[in-house]
């Protein structure tokens, strides 16, 4: 069952693998933005997570510890952003850019002795019975634990924001920080937590690239995926379910263009390589053109909260 040298089962299975890092990072950023904070440092946190996870996995031999280290690394870097924006009241856009510049440099510094090493591999979990379903089994039920974790995270984030008290507080802080403050909620503490969650998720996403997807360490390994994750949050109108759709859409484009390259399609390689970025622009335009006036963005997004 091949179409022009591309096997649809492998294509769809690798789609899930390619989408996972985008999904993890975009979910984290969505929670951060829901609390009213725009952190443009996703790319920096991802690549820091990628290198921390890679080093920890190689040194300990355990990919699980690698992912733990990646989450800690991403979160640690995001705390710098928290410090800048919540304590030092810095404008969020340049602070996020600074985080990306810093993270990229830091990752390349930490990773310089790890180029060309193969990390320990993460075993695939074969879900009993379900994995034997023809077509669907190999596509959906033969992946590693992180793929399932990312899907679980979509549900968890959705339920957290919609049904829990803490989720309501987080949304309140993002919609009107003055009112939330007046009600006695700790605006800065909530935002620190949201920033930290975003950092940890970006770190996990980065480690998924360096430990599973590639799996290797090279400079600039995240190659713009953090920025695509930011765009997907806008595309998804700050809804967890749509983040999943967006991430899988872009994972799909990435995998398809890689497969077309490998299959030797008569399209220039460069055009295929730029297609995810072009698609992102098109999607952003469609989303912003469709909305007249009202957007679903948290009302306090990017605003500084200060009491004196």
């Amino acid at each position: 069952m091949d179409f022009g040298g591309i096997n649809p089962v492998i294509l769809l299975a690798s789609l899930m693998v390619a989408s996972t890092p985008i999904l993890l990072a975009a979910l984290g950023e969505m929670v951060t933005e829901k609390s009213g904070v725009l952190n443009l440092g996703v790319e920096g946190m991802m690549i820091t997570g990628a290198v921390c996870g890679f080093i920890a996995a190689v040194e300990t031999g355990s990919p699980t510890l690698g992912f733990v280290a990646a989450a800690i690394g991403g979160m640690a870097l995001s705390m710098l952003f928290g410090l800048l924006t919540q304590v030092f009241l810095t404008t969020q856009v340049p602070a996020g850019l600074a985080l990306t510049l810093m993270g990229t440099g830091l990752a390349s510094l930490l990773g310089q002795n790890y180029v060309g090493i193969k990390p320990p591999s993460l075993p695939d979990l074969h879900v009993p019975l379900l994995q034997d379903i023809p077509f669907i089994g190999p596509v959906v039920f033969q992946h590693d634990a992180v793929v399932y974790l990312s899907l679980f995270a979509v549900v968890a984030v959705w339920a957290f924001l919609k049904y829990t008290r803490a989720g309501l507080v987080l949304r309140a802080v993002g919609e009107n920080h003055a009112a939330a403050h007046a009600l006695g909620y700790k605006v800065k503490l909530v935002r620190f937590a949201a920033i930290g969650f975003g950092g940890a998720m970006a770190g996990l996403g980065g480690a998924y690239i360096s430990l599973v997807r590639v799996p290797q360490w090279t400079d600039g390994i995240t190659a713009g995926i953090g920025w695509i994750a930011l765009a997907i949050v806008v595309f998804a109108s700050w809804r967890a379910g749509r983040v999943l759709i967006g991430a899988y859409l872009f994972g799909g484009i990435t995998v398809l263009q890689l497969n077309l390259q490998a299959a030797g399609a008569k399209v220039p390689v460069e055009l295929l390589s730029m297609s995810p970025f072009l698609a992102t622009i098109v999607v952003l335009v469609v989303i912003s053109a469709r909305r007249h006036g009202g957007t679903n963005a948290p009302a306090m997004l990017g605003r500084i909260f200060h009491t004196s």
Partner: protein, 361 residues
């Protein structure tokens, strides 16, 4: 307990003092970073900031490099600062720089081997136009569809890098290059080269353009209505709309100017110091220029000084890599740290630090 009280106006003293303090603090923290990597911090800092300018052995080579590296940073940062002042975030200058170099070089190479005086000026115009048009993509999407210019301009950097790769490997490849990637060496074709104008200074046409941009930006910001509108929009978008500022026009102007200047920087680089279109032509000037713009406080004169300082960290960083084996990524961390510390210190500019007795408050 320490609290921050918003100042009615930004403090003039701290506006100037904080960049200096930030540089000093970054040197101290950077020194600690270098020490943690097993290098002598004092030697490392001296190698980066002192030796390129004053060491007998290296200064002869390094001093001219200062202007060579500072020119593109200043050109790009001047353009970015206009938008940043008005709250228009063009972070895709790297892409505009690459496209400017490509369009300029393409025009020149299309005329090869013609030799005429007007070829280089034509290339300069083509380079500026290329950068301008590339920046018009986020500008028009922003004004027509209200699309986020931060994400679009950044995405276009990755697109530009792919076009660059296809140019270096394909349509601009040197037909006499034995199949190696990369275009003809423009700096060796008299009609297309951007030579050192005064020998031993490093000053090429890009340096001239950078100084001209500094002066023009100063006049624009301080003496021209458009400059006032840019500042007003940044400080209070609502008030600006009531005052009749055409915000769409401002988006087009700020992004367009930044794109044209970045395109110029790219053209001067490809015809001079870089010499040819190659896959690794984009050297990150477009991103470092963001640091330059902020360190220079979005002020033309400040940007001039900041551009020279960041250029020094590049040259000193190379020297430290050569002399002490300091990895080039360490300089990148150092630059990122500088921006972070500077941003953190902004609080002194905009807020008054007060120590309040909690019971009394």
């Amino acid at each position: 307990m320490i609290t921050f009280v918003k100042r009615p106006q930004p403090s003039k003293f701290w506006t100037i003092a904080t960049p200096v303090l930030a540089v000093i603090l970054t040197m101290i923290l950077g020194g600690l970073l270098f020490a943690a990597m097993g290098k002598d911090p004092v030697v490392a800092i001296r190698t980066i900031f002192w030796d390129p300018l004053f060491n007998d052995q290296f200064a002869a080579y390094s001093r001219p490099q200062l202007l060579v590296k500072a020119a593109p940073l200043i050109l790009i940062a001047i353009g970015l600062s206009l938008g940043f002042k008005a709250g228009i975030w063009n972070i895709g200058a790297e892409g505009q720089y690459i496209i400017g170099a490509l369009t300029g070089a393409s025009v020149g190479l299309a005329l090869y081997p013609l030799d005429a005086w007007w070829i280089f000026p034509l290339m300069v115009i083509a380079g500026a136009l290329g950068g301008f048009l590339w920046a018009m993509i986020p500008a028009i999407l922003k004004t027509r569809f209200n699309t986020n210019e931060i994400l679009v301009s950044l995405m276009l950097v990755y697109v530009a890098e792919q076009i660059l790769a296809s140019a270096a490997l394909g349509f601009l490849r040197n037909p006499e290059g034995n199949g190696f990637p990369g275009s003809r060496n423009l700096s060796q074709i008299p009609a297309m080269s951007n030579p050192e104008l005064i020998s031993g200074t490093g000053a090429h046409w890009g340096v001239v353009a950078a100084f001209a941009a500094v002066v023009a930006a100063y006049v624009l910001i301080n003496k021209h209505m458009l400059g006032f509108q840019i500042r007003l929009t940044g400080e209070s978008p609502r008030a600006a709309r009531f005052a009749g500022v055409k915000d769409r026009l401002l988006v087009v102007f700020c992004l367009g100017t930044a794109g044209a200047l970045a395109g110029l920087a790219g053209l001067f680089e490809v015809t001079g110091p870089a010499g040819q279109i190659s896959i690794d032509f984009g050297a990150g000037y477009g991103f470092t220029a963001i640091i330059v713009a902020f360190l220079g406080r979005l002020h033309p004169v400040g940007i001039l000084l900041a551009g020279l300082l960041l250029a020094l960290t590049f040259i000193g960083g190379e020297l430290a890599q050569f002399m002490l084996g300091l990895p080039s990524a360490a300089i990148q961390v150092f630059q990122g740290m500088l921006l972070m510390i500077l941003l953190a210190m902004d609080i002194l500019v905009n807020y008054r630090v007060m120590i309040v007795n909690k019971e009394a408050a």
